[in-house]
């Protein structure tokens, strides 16, 4: 055993733990989303869901750089952000199934998961709609001197929304601790952003004197390294930052978007899935560096799979909210 540990340890223990933790989180999101897709296909889940499969490294890399009391706002494709920020699988599934045990007592659903305990200000089904909320949370952090930062996750589609630029301007003027994270997965719903984005994204932030950078969003180590530096800077009072994570959604825009060759080719999808899978990339790298072995990763998969299964069973068995709940929580 001692020999094995020696052989594996070429990096500090804490760092290895962190990589494995990120591996586990990404895997958790992947298996959660696969389960969601399965629930949808078996008609066990009401409504739709926008799967995060393929983009796990973005949420996990960024959230790993945050404190648990830091804020995030999320999007319609938000399960990954919630889980990366510390949400529990069972309450997530319960919310997606509209059950009372869900994070929002079933009133929010897939696109509106919110949780004060993990600093999650809420996912938003209005594209770009949470940019104000995240920036306002940063204003609070600055005024109350809490040292918190706020991360605003949004897709490349939100680059078309004026709200984003209004709040970027104010965040820069007032040096607010907010980080705008654009998940550039190349598409809006069914339209390539070649058709919708003029110029260069980073230059837009630069126009507000906001420092921007882009990173390979499939490489969780790179996302995490970039996010860590940015968070440190922003927390220290340097003002807002902009991070573009170049990524790809492996599945359809939502679970029902199956035939999608009219907007992107199967070859393109295949290439990303085989060459650019964030979980595989980290696993391969950990193996190549002798930092872990296949058996350990396989063990992790078995563990996470069983957690996901238990959580979904819990949620399926959980009761719906009683009809008397429908007009509660309209007003505080």
């Amino acid at each position: 055993m001692a020999i094995a540990v020696d052989r594996l340890q070429t990096a500090p223990e804490a760092e290895i733990d962190q990589w494995l933790r990120m591996y586990r989180r990404m895997l958790m999101i992947r298996l959660f989303e696969e389960q969601v897709n399965d629930l949808y296909t078996r008609a066990l889940m009401p409504g739709l869901a926008h799967l995060y499969i393929g983009e796990e490294a973005v949420a996990v890399g960024v959230c790993e750089a945050l404190r648990s009391d830091d804020y995030i706002t999320s999007t319609h494709r938000g399960h990954g952000h919630c889980l990366a920020k510390g949400a529990r699988l069972d309450r997530m599934f319960a919310e997606l199934l509209g059950k009372e045990a869900g994070y929002c007592k079933g009133k929010g659903g897939s696109m509106h998961i919110a949780d004060p305990d993990t600093g999650n200000l809420g996912a938003n089904a209005i594209v770009g709609g949470s940019a104000g909320i995240a920036t306002g949370a940063a204003l609070t952090a600055k005024r109350m001197k809490t040292g918190r930062v706020a991360v605003c996750f949004f897709g490349d589609g939100a680059m078309g929304q004026g709200l984003l630029y209004e709040v970027m301007n104010m965040a820069s003027l007032w040096k607010l601790p907010v980080i705008y994270v654009c998940e550039n997965n190349l598409y809006g719903e069914y339209t390539s952003n070649v058709e919708t984005l003029a110029g260069d994204m980073l230059t837009r932030a630069a126009g507000f004197a906001i420092r921007g950078e882009s990173v390979d969003g499939q490489d969780v180590r790179k996302v995490h390294a970039a996010a860590t530096q940015i968070v440190e800077r922003v927390r220290a009072g340097a003002g807002p930052a902009f991070l573009v994570c170049n990524t790809y959604r492996f599945m359809g825009h939502h679970v029902g978007d199956v035939n999608r060759e009219y907007y992107r080719s199967k070859q393109e999808e295949q290439l990303w899935k085989t060459e650019r899978d964030p979980i595989k990339l980290l696993g391969d790298w950990l193996g190549a560096q002798n930092l872990t072995d296949r058996a350990r990763l396989e063990q992790l998969r078995i563990e996470v799979k069983s957690e996901v299964e238990q959580a979904v069973q819990f949620a399926l068995a959980a009761p719906y909210p009683g009809p008397d709940k429908v007009d509660q929580d309209v007003y505080a």
Binding site: G106, A114, S130, G132, M144, A150, M170, V330, A332
Partner: protein
């Protein structure tokens, strides 16, 4: 005897803000030209001197942006008051108010709260043209999760603003821009006015005139004219359109059996329609005639003074309606 002074409606709003900002360090106000300029209506003059530019925050001309920020600030522990210069600019903040502020509490299963106030102006006859004269308060009344306040006197403005700031929900507070200089008695000592409690501005027995905001003075003027003709009009101001004090309105309707509702918003699908239907449902068998509604004419507000004046309900219209109701 408690001291009472005469102050203007603008001063009353300002006093409420000052007192609440002194009482609670989480309260701040943001908007365009509010600090050194004290707003274009000069309502907040001097506030920045006492509270500094961080709590009287001049913003860029970004209504959606700073309203959205207020939502986030409110969720995380502040109590923002947003100043929307002209209620016409409600169009620009609708997503933040309707899809965000109003829904956060419900969508989160009651876990996040949005204690914020959006102040805005309403009212025509300032010769400001079609984009600076509308009364769009009914839009907000349509949305569950929002509360909508329309003060008509300095006393009400102060007490209701203090309640709005202390409320844990998003509150939309409309001030009639033509009433900022209206004077009225306001006690020197502290008070608040609960939401959902209508105020009988004048008691009467023959006809009930339900009036909001700018139309309360019009209704009171009409009541005076009617009195000269031997008609006793009761004037009731709901003060908050949501929550709406249906009970007081219905009781008055039962007493007088004739009702006029007058509001400066558009009549179609407007506040008058909702109030008239609440009264009809609650007092149908006591009514002598259908409830009469009077609202702004259904046209964009014109610039030319005689045209603009023709779009707004006036005392003569209310008097004529009352006489018609009384046959």
């Amino acid at each position: 005897m408690p001291e009472t002074r005469e102050i203007t409606l603008g001063e009353a709003v300002r006093e409420a803000l000052v007192e609440e900002m002194r009482r609670d360090s989480r309260v701040f106000i943001c908007g365009e030209d509010i600090a050194e300029a004290g707003t274009v209506f000069k309502v907040l003059g001097g506030l920045v001197d006492e509270f500094g530019p961080e709590r009287v925050l001049d913003t860029p001309i970004s209504e959606a942006g700073f309203t959205g920020m207020a939502v986030g600030a409110a969720m995380t522990g502040m109590r923002p008051v947003v100043d929307i210069m002209f209620g016409d600019f409600s169009t620009l903040v609708m997503d933040q108010m309707v899809n965000q502020a109003a829904k956060v509490h419900y969508m989160s299963g009651g876990r996040w709260k949005v204690p914020m106030v959006m102040r805005a102006t309403l009212g025509a006859t300032r010769r400001s043209g079609a984009q600076h004269s509308q009364s769009l308060h009914a839009w907000f009344c349509h949305v569950p999760g929002l509360k909508v306040v329309l003060p008509a006197t300095p006393y009400d403005a102060k007490g209701l603003m203090k309640t709005a700031i202390r409320d844990d929900n998003p509150v939309v507070f409309f001030e009639d821009k033509m009433m900022y200089r209206l004077k009225g008695p306001v006690p020197a000592e502290e008070y608040t006015i609960p939401f959902g409690v209508a105020d009988v501005k004048r008691e009467g027995t023959d006809v009930t005139i339900v009036a909001t905001s700018s139309m309360v003075q019009v209704a009171l003027g009409a009541a005076k004219l009617l009195e000269a003709d031997g008609i006793s009009a009761e004037v009731i101001d709901p003060r908050t359109l949501w929550p709406l004090d249906e009970k007081t309105l219905v009781e008055s309707a039962k007493k007088t059996s004739r009702v006029i509702v007058v509001d400066e918003g558009y009549g179609r699908y407007g506040a008058t329609a909702e109030i008239a239907s609440a009264i009809t449902e609650g007092a149908f068998f006591d009514l002598e005639a259908p409830v009469k509604r009077i609202g702004a004419m259904h046209v964009p507000i014109p610039f030319s003074p005689p045209l603009e004046d023709a779009t707004v309900p006036n005392e003569q219209a209310v008097v004529a309606a009352a006489k018609a109701l009384l046959g």
